[in-house]
Symmetry: C2
Subunit: 181 residues, 2 copies
């Protein structure tokens, strides 16, 4: 092999080992993220889960990504229907977000969806009526990474809500961010 | 073709078209995201850019992703060195974050790095001394999506800073979120 610059030497020859999971999770608690309820519709009806691992990829074509655990309840519905809706939530949705994270034993999907207003846009995946914004999507590609899958999604409809407020998860707590009028 | 459930019919037969780029960007402005300065080291030395499209993927093995435009200045350095450091910034780094976004003509990398304290952890990519948290990473996989690439990165070192404060981008403005002691 020919000689190569220092960073490549370090990466390839010493092969540093990954940090442990706890250190990683503690570090990640310091990276603020918006809170979303990601929904889909499968053979058993509507399903959904709370996700902070959602981000914009490109606007040509308009694409976002959603990362989820392969053992999550909604995984098979998304895999088979190839549709999902990312509902970016506002401060008033703290309790709803907790419910969609499975807190309080809310594994039952009917229980998760109750007490909020839902409609559909184009794909049939549920759209939260008072979300800050909803992105209705077709899943165009999956990439599996360890325990998780990343769904790359083309956005086919967007609805902006009346709530111009963001709900952020940071330091293992919810925080509200408000946009001045 | 055999009949299939409604959402699949909709997705496959009517093939809805993506929303336009402007609608997408306006919608994405409503999805809050933490602010990071992503750095690397290439043949021309240190480089870096401001990124909000960073998220956790899995803790087995500890992996995050970074999405960047293929025309960005730091793209080739990351592609060749296969190392990067995600520096999650705090409120005091608003100006620094603007500089690393190229604002004010700061295309020169020396100008971007000046006026802040930098060290290195394991890979040699620059770590911001007073970041909220720094994730030092090896790039283990790329996925190209349109104009952008998603780098999947294994985290080999983490340094938590003294700043327990997050800087969030929402509604095209910076917001600070603070963790009570």
């Amino acid at each position: 092999m020919t000689s190569s610059p220092a960073p490549v030497d370090i990466a390839q020859s010493q092969m540093p080992t990954p940090v442990d999971s706890k250190t990683f999770r503690n570090g990640m608690a310091r990276l603020a993220a918006g809170v979303n309820i990601v929904t889909s519709v499968g053979n058993d009806g509507w399903c959904g889960f709370t996700a902070s691992a959602v981000c914009s990829v490109t606007d040509e074509p308009p694409t976002l990504l959603v990362c989820m655990k392969k053992t999550a309840q909604s995984y098979h519905a998304i895999q088979s229907s190839r549709v999902l809706c990312v509902n970016t939530v506002a401060g008033l949705h703290e309790d709803l977000s907790m419910r969609f994270s499975g807190a309080g034993g809310a594994k039952d999907m009917g229980m998760r969806f109750s007490g909020a207003d839902w409609t559909t846009l184009i794909t049939g995946a549920p759209s939260l009526a008072d979300a800050t914004v909803s992105f209705d999507c077709l899943v165009v590609r999956n990439e599996e990474i360890g325990t998780h899958v990343v769904f790359f999604c083309e956005v086919v409809a967007i609805r902006e809500g009346e709530n111009v407020e963001g709900l952020v998860y940071f330091g293992r707590k919810f925080h509200r961010v408000t946009q001045p009028a």
